[in-house]
Assembly symmetry: D2
Homo-oligomer: 397 residues x 4
């Protein structure tokens, strides 16, 4: 159990800790081997936003929703007002705007890295429209993930593609309003397997710097090599003033998009610890957009979102408990075991009672998941959406 | 260039080297992020078999085709005669029968490892029907790949599932005719990510031995941890008389299902070398069913199959050149560098002229890919199948 | 904080939870780049046993010490009586006997897998002497780790070496007394890099079964591929009655031999959970020899041992808290999220107060590390051993 | 066999292809489990340079030797003239200067990243002395590999250490002459395991740019995560004008320091292909210092160096054969299979006859290894050095 001073620190931290929800996390997704369809899954943007509103209603820490232009703004800029209205109705606001330049058939050989000039232009046009949508929705971040890469050695020119990406990202940056940022994500594998044009944080950093000062790097837990030290990347990006966002999820092998903290909670805690340590020492606020980015193929989607949000609160609260003065003292004196134990001690603490107290103080249910289940929302959604979801069944071959 | 004695060895080896084609490799497949649709992709079993027939026609080394019961025998046993007829028409015979117990919605929590007795029974029923289909098609192997696993620690009982798998596989074995074999495949990740019930060759071996003497292990290049020594597994399974099949493909990170030999040709060569070395030393024939198992999302499917078959012939021919007497001599004397150079020398040899000669002697085109392209088959297929393929487009979310 | 019922379960579990210490863990070890020498490190078997006695004195859970024949029994069987006496003096008993067939210059190309018959015999002789030592010390387990492997493709015959290993292990088994066991360890890399003769649990299982019924498999945390599911291997070996021992340590990349639980405490917890779950369901005792096997290059060796023992107690206690009835219930009903939360809840509990209580009830210091530090033991050791340790400095080249 | 035009291209390329040898590669090295001592291994700098001279004598492509200040300049600057003389006598010149800030006992918690100011200063002093030695030996490159890191989460401040590294590298850069470069190497693991201060190419790039324009990145095959695309990193660094050097070796799992091309020759070929492709398209010379950096624990050291140099010539020659115009044409048109086959075709070519011809034309032995063996050099070295090498035996514990 935490002391009252610790509890207070946790409460203060939770007051400002917010995570964005992804609209696409409420619809049926899966693996290349198929999707397990849920009758209650959202089938429209309105439904996605409604579900997100539920998560925020029960957790109090998910006030905004990221959207995917292809799926949520089917008519582009013309869709904007109706999406804004749906968000307002659901009690959330619109967050990061995500262009989609990987799904259309023209992107078989890439988008901004495509050897075909016209396809590069089509991708850029879609991205620039996303920038405009962001201006209208009042979203600060345009979030750029590129599937671009190649699957066979020699089949594409790594160097030419780097050049084309540089040009496209510069052009994108030129269209940002002063309030906007562009977040450049990286990923070393999938959907192409031999090379990814933006394969690691170093590549995202180099291209972001080429693009301009409003371009920052976006980190995603699952987009790393096995054994890669993600918290070190976070620490370095913070110290270079280049960390713009972090996508939560977990994984065992590849980009498995599992529930945050479900496989390696200690790693998640250490990532938060680097952020909080940076803030304490520099007195600056780490300006990071946190978002959940998972694929919910097995658990109920809204339930898994609530589970993720509460898990994130727990791991963040544990990180808040780290005694940084003591930690730094031991680090500087080379007292390795004591420094390590200082960190471990925070992780070993049970913060759940303190978080329940915080919820109570905010008028939230102490157990968000149970409260959501008791609300009957899922049963209603199954009834309303069941028929519409039948079409989502997909076959591997 | 190879000497005439070497050329002769290669020709003799190619006379018996055959690879099975997978029917599903001719239809549109992709990643969870989508499929890039080809107008010429096969949309029916008849078309798949026709395409496979083309590959065999131009390479001369792909006389049989593996089928997936769910996709190729939509009416189960009733479909058998028409599939046999289509194969005959295409100039190929039917090979391994593959049950599919991962795609149906009931398999969300597994098939033979499902905690629900009824679903385990449904999976078993489908497998037993596949065994019967195999008897009718005259196929020797029933090829069992199970997607079964779990994605979250604690969500399933690893030990109970092992028990259920043991029971299901024993029951399957009991239904085999004396001529049939069941091949048990393993894979450490995907479509579940925390644990796979049949995660590695050790698990496949243990369960195969529990099932009975006609159960053998099936190895797939992409179903391994990074850095795992696949040729060692092949050597061990051969020495335990437990290797039944090998699925060709290549990968950089996960189960990428890329073209065989496209990423690590030296590894492919070493796998063949273990097989050939085993045969030379023991005087036994390694009774391994070779099959291509790739996902052709980017290259033309039939072209990639031809490329794969010719690459396999090249790497197999290089392995045929290894001087095993010399190799063993150096190994036994601990002359590491000489032994290694003996192996490398075979790999460095250019076997392409010898293979072209062999093709000529068989009345085959010297360059199968060019001959296939010149035939105009793809253009005809695009015309006939284009409209039918439009429906295959899938969305991530 | 735990409830009183939970506290009681923890206390009961701790009463029987014991971990063996490795004698070599108290002497100076390091990486190929060098060792960081500690003045207080043990330089003789007597000193190693004395240090181990300290760990047991302060933690109460480390009653036995594993020895390495090469280092601890320099005169083989003749050394036995003096080592037994030193152990008694230190308040510990002798545990597993570890032959060493990797360090001598003759083992350059392997031990039991060496292509040279004489060297295979020398290795076997050393192992059989270790078996005899075990009989005299009353040790139950002979613990077999083989560095054997090759670093270059082709340089050794994988299949021949498997055969030689089979013969050597059978011969070893034939010399065991009815009370003895032989534990066969596996490791996929290092000190050879292309192949390890006993590379994974499947290989250890196959060879153990060839050897005889008293041969069991030994698992070591660091001896796995990245992302490999270790608790699944533990569950399978338990269900096959083939798990004999477990070596504790942790790692980020390879066989880093870091402090247990320092990198991935949740994984360690899950391993314990599989063991305890097996015991609860079967009513059998999992007959596993637990041992710490770490390389203490940076932290004070005795302190790190105490830290490890207390960490193991914590993670084991958390696993004791898992509500297996509830877990199984949710698993069987396919309630994934509930099953997962059931497991997570035990891990999130703070068991430190309960463990402190247990220590108090046993007359142990509540904080073993602080008590050890307060004892002044290290300062005395530095004084007595400092000069002797200077010689341990090693150079990479 | 290559055509005469191809042969000519290979000959021209080999005329300028040179690889540096590492002095430490001729002395006894090993793993943490021990060294297998060779009687003929070099024990003094003079002997190392003499051995290197043999490699150059027989291969004609290794004109320079990298030195390690700690081992080769035991008296620092005062040793310079004698080392220069030894090199001249051996027929080689001195290449990159390597400070050693990982082996001394003071570096337990790091060198330029050490929390202790005095130790940081000691490390800097040693590096600056190395810069001065480089000026005197006429060496262009000071090659900086830092073992620095931490093995336990929390035990060191990642961010502080980055800052200290920035300062130390800036100071180093300030002491370079206009002719000198500093090469900054990276490595993700070993000898520390939780984090490495310079863990990947992105970190090396960021710090090199902070240091100044004469700082470039140094790539080493073994210093990457599994499945990482090394040739992409090479392509990116070249396009950023930041690639300074490349260390040859190969590996299966970690930094195994095996013979170049022994595990994955196709990867080595692709790396060369990126370099040559860059040169052809830009018309610039890629200013990369190539060096062998291997640990020869099993094969005869000089023989393995010769094997490595000839393997590098082969793989480089294959890369020279790539038809870049054709490759680029197919890449731009999205003809993936044709582009891939264009690359593969060069790799499949047997370049050994062309290389033998080149050797003949230069008055070199056609088979360098056989010629070296015939020279009797090793037997003489064994006789002269045997006794001195006995002391190199090391024990794990």
């Amino acid at each position: 159990m935490t002391t009252s001073a610790q509890t207070e620190r946790i409460h203060k931290a939770l007051d400002t800790f917010a995570i964005e929800l992804p609209s696409w996390g409420f619809s049926n997704t899966g693996t290349r081997f198929g999707k397990f369809i849920q009758d209650s899954a959202a089938t429209t943007t309105e439904e996605k936003l409604a579900d997100a509103g539920q998560v925020h209603h029960f957790t109090g820490c998910c006030p905004s929703v990221a959207t995917h232009v292809l799926w949520d703004f089917p008519e582009g800029l013309k869709s904007t007002s109706s999406v804004i209205a749906s968000a307002a109705k659901a009690g959330v606001r619109l967050g990061a705007i995500n262009p989609n330049v990987f799904q259309d058939q023209i992107y078989k050989n890439g988008s901004l890295g495509n050897p075909n000039t016209k396809i590069r232009q089509a991708a850029l046009d879609h991205i620039l429209e996303s920038v405009e949508i962001g201006k209208q929705t009042g979203s600060r971040d345009v979030s750029l993930w590129f599937g671009d890469g190649s699957s066979y050695p020699g089949s594409q020119s790594i160097r030419h593609r780097k050049q084309w990406f540089t040009e496209g990202l510069k052009e994108t940056h030129a269209h940002l309003s002063p309030q906007q940022r562009m977040l450049v994500e990286y990923k070393p594998f999938e959907p192409y397997f031999y090379h990814s044009d933006l394969g690691d944080w170093g590549m995202a950093l180099v291209l972001s710097r080429h693009a301009g000062p409003q371009a920052k790097v976006l980190v995603d837990t699952g987009h790393h090599y096995q054994a890669q030290n993600i918290e070190q990347i976070v620490a370095w990006l913070l110290s270079e003033d280049m960390l713009g966002g972090f996508h939560f999820n977990d994984r065992r092998y590849a980009d498995d998009d599992l529930t945050f903290g479900s496989i390696d909670p200690y790693q998640a805690f250490r990532i938060f610890n680097e952020v909080i340590g940076f803030e304490r020492e520099t007195g600056k606020r780490a300006d990071i957009a946190y978002m959940i980015d998972q694929s919910h193929n097995l658990k109920d989607k809204t339930e898994e979102m609530i589970q993720t949000a509460t898990t994130a609160q727990e791991l963040y609260s544990k990180a808040v408990l780290v005694d940084h003065e003591k930690l730094t003292h031991h680090q500087l004196k080379g007292e390795l075991l004591d420094a390590e134990e200082c960190l471990k001690s925070a992780f070993s603490s049970d913060v759940r009672p303190a978080i329940r107290e915080w919820r109570k103080s905010k008028g939230l249910a102490e157990e968000p998941l149970q409260a959501f289940r008791a609300s009957g929302y899922t049963a209603r959604a199954e009834k309303e959406r069941g028929a519409k979801n039948k079409g989502a069944v997909a076959s591997y071959a």
